[in-house]
Amino acid sequence: MIRLGVNIDHVATLRNARGELHPNPVKAAKYVKKAGAHSVTIHLREDRRHINDFDAKKICSIKKLLVNLEISTNPKIVNIALKIWEGLSQELNYNVMFSQRGVMNLAHNLQDVRDLKRRTHANRLNGIDAVYLNTEQVKKFCPIINTSQDIRYPVLGGTLQRRAGTARHDAVAWGYARGADEMGVDIIQNCEVKGIKRNGDTVEGIETTKGFIKTNKIGVVAAGHSSVIANMAGLRLPLESKPLQALVSEPVKPVIDTVVMSNAVHAYVSQSDKGELVIGAGTDDYISYSQKGSHDIVEGTLNAILELYPIFSRMRMLRQWGGIVDICPDASPIISKTSIKGLYFNCGWGTGGFKATPGSGDLFAHTIANDEPHKLNAAFNINRFVSGDLVDEHGAAAVAH
């Protein structure tokens, strides 16, 4: 079925030119929907020449309206993701429990301080809210952290991104699934992909446990299993899939109201709305799809947690599990087309994929639709491993999320 999308940018252009409140692009979007269009397109330009942030938010919150939101050039993917996160519950008509409780990254040595300041400055210039805190400010923002200077690796400071936070991951997946379903996407559950059919350098479809699906474009977002799918198409990726473990404590009343990460002592902790402390451990160093990791990693993580939060010593681990993360040599993701026509990959997110979901999804969709990357994900092209233009993200996303 052909789907009609209408660009309503210039309703706003007109409004802005008049310097008045009408015509109103939000109303326009509703008219367009009422008239039977399937989607509206808006383009949030860096100079806000037509649509502004408020419009975009309003338009995105119109129920059952598919919005093709193009966001212009600069601010980095995560910031777009953040903005979309903020409106996601309304857009999907599904509460993803996005909680902007702030994310802190702690510095424990002088190079941490330099690296975190470097990121803070870059974020600030990109329009992303981020501040650098000294030790006292860290303590003030999260009083239960042990900021005593005589611990093994004292807290020297940290960064705070107030708008960042946590979302209930299941709800995000379910919400997107529901939204996609309503737009007519056919979601086939319990259906395993067994092969990719190629004709020369072009894809023709996929073999699944429930039969063959003919298609000329395949977008692969298989996380830890990306290489497995790539191998079906005879493609090798610069990825290694490794165990990543996490654990939760028994639920308790609110005790930590933010997300705290520490690279140097490898500790990630936040508290879920249910009250569980959510603790991310690091990855093991070997390739595995067993969804199990070694106990040493869990023990090491809890060592770090108790170093920073000695009051948690009598808390108890309720559940511990392992997942699979696909990691690139430069610890940055791939959102890219490949040497096989019609085959696209969004992978290599390592431990940090979830937070960028809305942003990366948007850009990946753009890449598939246009057979060309968006300007924002051009740097995350698979070809960088050939040309040598690697991205230095090792410091940025090294600890589990």
Binding site: V228, L239, D284, D285, I287, S294, D296, V386, S387
Partner: protein
């Protein structure tokens, strides 16, 4: 946590070892002869197999020797270990 049978020391806890990724990737003898693509293939591209994998391990907190191991990455079952330069004991 695995128990690994180091070909030099015998059975030891996994915590004594360090993993070194896919085995039998030979460093090209004449790198300058390779195209950028071929060099990237050597440097970065990996099979990352789910299933039986031939891989390198180092007994880092032991004899510090590198050796090869055959392991099923889907369930972590170790099938065999063998020294560098030796032929894999299983196909």
């Amino acid at each position: 946590m695995f128990v690994i049978n180091c070909p030099f020391c015998g059975e030891r806890e996994q915590s004594e070892f360090k993993a070194g990724g896919e085995a039998h990737i030979v460093r090209p003898k004449q790198p300058t002869e390779l195209s950028d693509d071929e060099w990237a293939e050597y440097l970065f591209m990996r099979k990352n197999i789910k299933g039986v994998q031939f891989e390198r391990w180092n007994h880092a907190h032991g004899c510090r020797k590198w050796f090869n191991m055959v392991r099923d990455t889907s369930n972590d079952e170790i099938k065999a270990v063998y020294k560098m330069g030796e032929k894999p004991p299983i196909e």
